[in-house]
């Protein structure tokens, strides 16, 4: 069964600094990978997703993530963060093969705290 591990529960960073939020997954088959963001008091919205093709995926708000099959990772990065990036970030995985529903499984979340 697939699972997702987000290695950091909280990541404090100063404004304009780079940031990396780590995500590792386990799955026995090909996977699709997602990052969602949840701003304070709001619902979840999709940041980016990896389906196939280029391993570097670009998303909204200047975020990008790199799929690394050998390391089973999908880390999220941004070269320069803003105060407005303060939010909870969730990594998620879905795998599909005949007989599997392909439901989305989420990690525990990482709180990004951007300080001035």
């Amino acid at each position: 069964a697939q699972s997702v591990t987000q290695l950091d529960s909280q990541v404090p960073v100063f404004e304009e600094a780079p940031v990396e939020l780590r995500c590792n997954y386990s799955s026995s088959v090909s996977v699709y990978l997602f990052w969602y963001v949840q701003y304070p008091n709001q619902g979840l919205q999709l940041l980016l997703k990896y389906l196939s093709g280029s391993t570097l995926v670009k998303g909204i708000n200047g975020f990008e993530a790199e799929f690394n099959k050998s390391q089973t990772s999908f880390h999220l990065r941004k070269p320069s963060v803003h105060i407005s990036d303060t939010a909870e970030y969730f990594c998620a995985v879905s795998d599909w093969f005949p007989g599997n529903t392909g439901k989305l499984i989420f990690g525990q979340g990482t709180t990004l705290q951007v300080k001035p």
């Binding site: 619902g43 979840l44 969730f90 599909w96 439901k103 499984i105």
Partner: protein, 116 residues
Amino acid sequence: GAGVSQSPSNKVTEKGKDVELRCDPISGHTALYWYRQSLGQGLEFLIYFQGNSAPDKSGLPSDRFSAERTGGSVSTLTIQRTQQEDSAVYLCASSLGSPGRGNTIYFGEGSWLTVV
């Protein structure tokens, strides 16, 4: 509608009472999901409906939890004999098809349940 709609947005109930939470998915979306978000617990998968297929109920935590989806659209999540540990935000989401095929899932704002 334009997005996934959930009601009520907030519900306070007494321990032992039953509650019903409603979800209106995005029009035309065949897949519908329920997740539970508790403090420090991340997003916990509860149940997944896809078209006319049998629902994936593998995430329901106990037999006090049940969900149905009528007419392939609106879904109701029912929690019987509520316990304090049921207090959480219950999130509904929908997608055009299975996330296992790379479809993006869209989340509602959630129903915040407090059991006192």
